[in-house]
C-alpha cells in the first residue's frame, strides 16, 4: 500500500506494525516524533507495548537493556546528545548480546549545540558493538527498521541494531512510500524467543557480571565474531525482504559503478543529490559513479575494495568530523579497505555538511571535477579537506 509519510512517521509505523514488547521513550529533536506517534498508537490501543516514558536517554537505553535481557523485544529512538548520553550503555547492550533496535535520527553533536543533520552522533558510537544501517530516504528508513530484528536477533549475531536516517532531511520530509501489510511485517519479523532470559521460570539467569581479565578477552572476541557473522545475515535478511517487498538491498548501493572512472563514497540522503550529479556528468560523457554505504557496522571492507578497484580516483565524503587530523571515519575505513588492492585508486577525503550545511548538486560536481583533475595531473593535492565552509581553506 502506498502512503505519504515523513521518515519519523514511517519508522513509527514500522514499530507499530511490529508491536514490540517495550519502548523506552524520551524526546530529542529531530527524533521526538517517533515516541510521539508511538504514544498515540498506545493511547488508541493500536499496540499493547509497555511504553516507558523515562526521564533521560540514559534511562531509555537502561530500560531497553533490562527489558531485552528479561526476554522482551525493546525499541527506542534518539538523536545527537541523546545517543551520546547513552554511550556507556550502548557498549553494555552489545556486550550483553541484547538485540535492541534503536532508531537513530542523525543530528550533529554539541557543541556548539545544533539541531541539524550530520553523522557525528552515530559515528561516535561506531565502535560500540552495534550494527549500523543507514537510510537514504523514508522508504529505506522504514525497510531498514523492519529488517533490523531478524538481523540482530539471529543466534549467531545477537547484537543490537541502530537504523539511522538523516535528521530533518529524511525524518521530517514527507515522501511517497510503499508500506507492507502488517501481517506480512509480523510474519517477516517473527517472535522474539531467546534461549535464556531473566523471566524464564525454569532457569534463572544472571546478566552483566564483573568480568575479570581471565574471561573479558574471550567475551570480546565472541562479540567481534558476532559482528563478522552479521554481514552474511544482513544479506540473507535483505534477500528475504526482497521477496516480500520487491525492494533489493545490499551492504552498499552501487550507482553507475560498472565503468566508473571517478567515484564517490558517501552515506545517507546526500546519495540522492550525488545521483543527480552523476546523471548530469554522465550526460556530459564523464564516467562518474557512486557508492552509497548502507551498512557501516559491520564495515563491508572486502566488498567495497572490489568495487573501488575499478575507478581511477575516489572521493570519500564524510558528514562528520572525526578530529583525527587525518580525515573522517568513513574515509579511514574506506582507505583501509583499499590497502589490499594491487592497483589502488587515488583517494581523497572531503568532510562536508556539518551541522546541516547544505550540499547541492553543484557541490558534488565540484568534487568530481577535483577527481578529474587528480586523474589528469597525477597529483592528489591535500588528501583531507573540508567543503562548504566560508573560508579560504575550502579546497574544492
Amino acid at each position: 500500500m502506498s502512503d505519504r509519510l515523513s521518515g519519523n512517521e514511517a519508522v513509527a509505523y514500522a514499530m507499530k506494525q511490529i508491536n514490540p514488547d517495550v519502548m523506552g521513550a524520551f524526546p530529542i529533536t529531530p527524533s521526538t516524533e517517533i515516541p510521539e506517534y508511538f504514544a498515540a498508537y498506545v493511547a488508541n490501543g493500536e499496540v499493547n507495548t509497555e511504553y516507558v516514558a523515562v526521564e533521560s536517554e540514559h534511562s531509555s537505553m537502561s530500560v531497553c537493556i533490562a527489558a531485552q535481557a528479561a526476554g522482551a523485544r525493546a525499541v527506542c529512538a534518539t538523536s545527537s546528545c541523546g545517543l551520546a548520553l547513552m554511550y556507556e550503555l550502548l557498549y553494555v547492550a552489545a556486550s550483553c548480546r541484547l538485540p535492541i533496535t534503536l532508531a537513530c535520527v542523525n543530528r550533529a553533536l554539541s557543541g556548539p549545540i545544533n539541531i541539524n543533520h550530520d553523522y557525528s552522533d552515530s559515528m561516535g558510537a561506531r565502535d560500540s558493538g552495534w550494527i549500523q544501517i543507514y537510510a537514504e530516504n523514508n522508504q529505506e528508513a522504514y525497510d531498514n527498521f523492519i529488517m533490523a530484528m531478524p538481523i540482530g536477533e539471529t543466534p549467531a549475531v545477537r547484537l543490537p541494531v541502530m537504523t539511522c536516517m538523516d535528521g530533518f532531511i529524511t525524518s521530517h520530509a514527507v515522501e511517497n512510500i510503499e508500506l507492507l501489510e502488517t501481517e506480512t511485517v509480523r510474519t517477516f519479523v517473527g517472535t522474539y524467543d531467546p534461549e535464556n532470559y531473566l523471566l524464564k521460570k525454569e532457569n534463572p539467569l544472571a546478566v552483566g557480571p564483573y568480568d575479570i581479565s581471565a574471561y573479558y578477552m574471550e567475551h570480546k572476541v565472541q562479540e567481534a565474531e558476532a559482528m563478522k557473522a552479521a554481514k552474511a545475515r544482513i544479506l540473507e535478511v535483505a534477500a528475504e525482504f526482497e521477496k516480500i517487498s520487491g525492494r533489493s538491498y545490499g551492504l552498499f548501493e552501487e550507482y553507475q559503478m560498472d565503468d566508473a572512472e571517478l567515484a564517490l563514497v558517501l552515506m545517507g540522503s546526500t546519495a540522492g543529490t550525488a545521483k543527480a550529479a552523476v546523471d548530469k556528468l554522465r550526460e556530459q560523457g564523464v564516467k562518474a559513479g557512486l557508492v552509497k554505504i548502507r551498512v557501516f557496522r559491520p564495515f563491508p571492507c572486502e566488498e567495497l575494495a572490489q568495487v573501488l578497484a575499478g575507478p581511477k580516483a575516489v572521493a570519500v565524503m564524510d558528514k562528520s568530523e572525526g578530529f583525527s587530523a587525518n580525515g573522517g571515519p568513513l574515509f579511514a575505513e574506506t582507505r583501509s579497505a583499499l590497502y589490499d588492492l594491487k592497483d589502488r585508486p587515488y583517494v581523497i577525503n572531503i568532510v562536508y555538511g556539518l551541522g546541516g550545511r547544505d550540499a547541492k548538486v553543484e557541490d558534488i560536481e565540484k568534487v568530481f571535477k577535483r577527481l578529474a583533475d587528480i586523474v589528469a595531473t597525477g597529483e592528489t593535492g591535500p588528501v583531507y579537506t573540508h567543503m562548504g565552509q566560508r573560508s579560504k581553506e575550502d579546497m574544492v
Binding site: V52, V54, S56, S59, S62, A66, A74, L198, G208, I212
Partner: protein
C-alpha cells in the same frame, strides 16, 4: 500484612544470597541483601538488580553468581531504570501470556549509586510508579573505589577526598537526607532501617516494601569496616550505636503517614557512635570539641523533627 516474625524460621529458608561471595568480613551489605531477600515469600521469584559497586563486583564475578534468583547489573548510575525495565518487560510479557507466576523486582545500590550518580534514575523510576523496591545500602562513601566522599557522607567524616589536614578536617557538608527526598516522591512506602539485632525491623520493612504495590524505597544503614575504620567483629555493635544515638533513626512512611519504628530506651550521646570509628578520630582531638557539639546539635534537631512528624 500482620505476620509473626520468627528469626529461626526465617533463617531456615533457603538463602537467596548464597555464601562464598567476596564481600569483606564485617561488611553490612551482604547482611542487608540477605535480610531483604529473606522477606520474599518462598514461592515467589525475584529479579535482583545491582548498581555497580562493592556489592555487584563481589556477588557476581564471572562465572559465579551468589544470587539464586535472576540478576542483572548494567551500570553504576542506572539500577533503578534497569529494575524498571525488567518490570516493564514483565508487564508486557504477562499481558501477552508469555510469563507465569509472581515475580518481584528488587534493586540494590550503594549510596554512590543512589544518593549521587544514580539519583536521577531513582527519582524517575519512583515517579513512573513501577512495582519495584529500591534498596539503598548506605555505607556513607564511595567504598568500591577506595573510600571517597559522597553526598551521604556525614559531616566531619574523613574520606580520601575529604581528608583531615591542617586546613580542612573531614567533610564540610552535612549528609543529604535522601529518605526525606524519597518521601517527597509520594510513593506508597518509604522506610529507613538497619540490620539491627534479630533483623526484625529490616525483615518487616522489606516484606512491606516487596508486597506493597508500586514503587517502594528502603534506606538501610550498612557499615563498612574499611571506610568507617572499625574492627570487623563490631558490625552489629556499630549499627546498634547508630540507632541508639539517633544518628540513624528507624522509621517508615506509609502512604504519607510517618511512623517511628524504634524509640531508644536511653538516647545515647552521639560521641558513643563516633568514638569507635577511625573516620571520626580527629573529632576527639583537643580543640575539636566543637565538632562533637555540632554533630550532637544536628542529630538532636533531626530527631526532634522526626518525633514531631511521627507523633511519637
Amino acid at each position: 500484612m500482620k505476620r509473626v516474625y520468627n528469626l529461626k524460621q526465617e533463617v531456615e529458608k533457603p538463602p537467596r544470597l548464597t555464601g562464598g561471595h567476596r564481600l569483606c568480613a564485617g561488611c553490612g551489605a551482604g547482611v542487608v541483601v540477605a535480610g531483604v531477600l529473606r522477606a520474599l515469600n518462598k514461592e515467589d521469584r525475584a529479579v535482583v538488580t545491582n548498581a555497580t559497586g562493592c556489592l555487584e563486583v563481589s556477588t557476581f564475578m564471572y562465572p559465579y553468581t551468589a544470587y539464586m534468583d535472576s540478576f542483572i547489573h548494567s551500570a553504576f548510575e542506572n539500577s533503578a531504570a534497569t529494575c524498571s525495565g525488567v518490570e516493564a518487560a514483565y508487564n508486557a510479557l504477562k499481558r501477552r501470556g508469555k510469563v507465569e507466576g509472581t515475580v518481584k523486582f528488587i534493586t540494590f545500590g550503594g549510596d554512590g549509586g543512589t544518593y549521587d550518580i544514580g539519583f536521577q534514575s531513582l527519582s524517575g523510576a519512583m515517579e513512573r510508579g513501577h512495582d519495584m523496591v529500591y534498596v539503598c545500602y548506605d555505607n556513607e562513601a564511595y567504598m568500591n573505589t577506595g573510600i571517597q566522599r559522597s553526598s551521604s557522607t556525614p559531616r566531619f567524616a574523613r574520606t580520601t577526598t575529604s581528608p583531615v589536614g591542617a586546613k580542612n578536617q573531614g567533610k564540610k557538608q552535612e549528609k543529604k537526607d535522601l529518605t526525606d527526598i524519597m518521601v517527597a516522591h509520594n510513593i506508597p512506602y518509604v522506610a529507613q532501617t538497619a540490620p539491627l539485632g534479630n533483623f526484625k525491623d529490616l525483615h518487616t520493612k522489606a516484606y512491606k516494601a516487596i508486597y506493597t504495590e508500586g514503587p517502594c524505597f528502603m534506606n538501610v544503614l550498612s557499615p563498612c569496616p574499611r571506610g568507617w575504620d572499625y574492627p570487623m567483629a563490631k558490625l552489629a555493635e556499630i549499627i546498634k550505636l547508630a540507632v541508639d544515638t539517633c544518628v540513624w533513626p528507624l522509621f517508615e512512611v506509609e502512604e504519607g503517614v510517618w511512623h517511628l519504628s524504634y524509640m531508644p530506651k536511653r538516647k545515647l550521646p552521639v560521641e558513643d557512635f563516633l568514638r569507635p570509628q577511625g573516620r571520626f578520630r580527629h573529632m576527639f582531638e583537643q580543640g575539636n570539641e566543637w565538632m562533637i557539639e555540632a554533630a550532637q546539635a544536628y542529630v538532636d534537631q533531626r530527631w526532634e523533627r522526626l518525633l514531631e512528624r511521627s507523633g511519637a
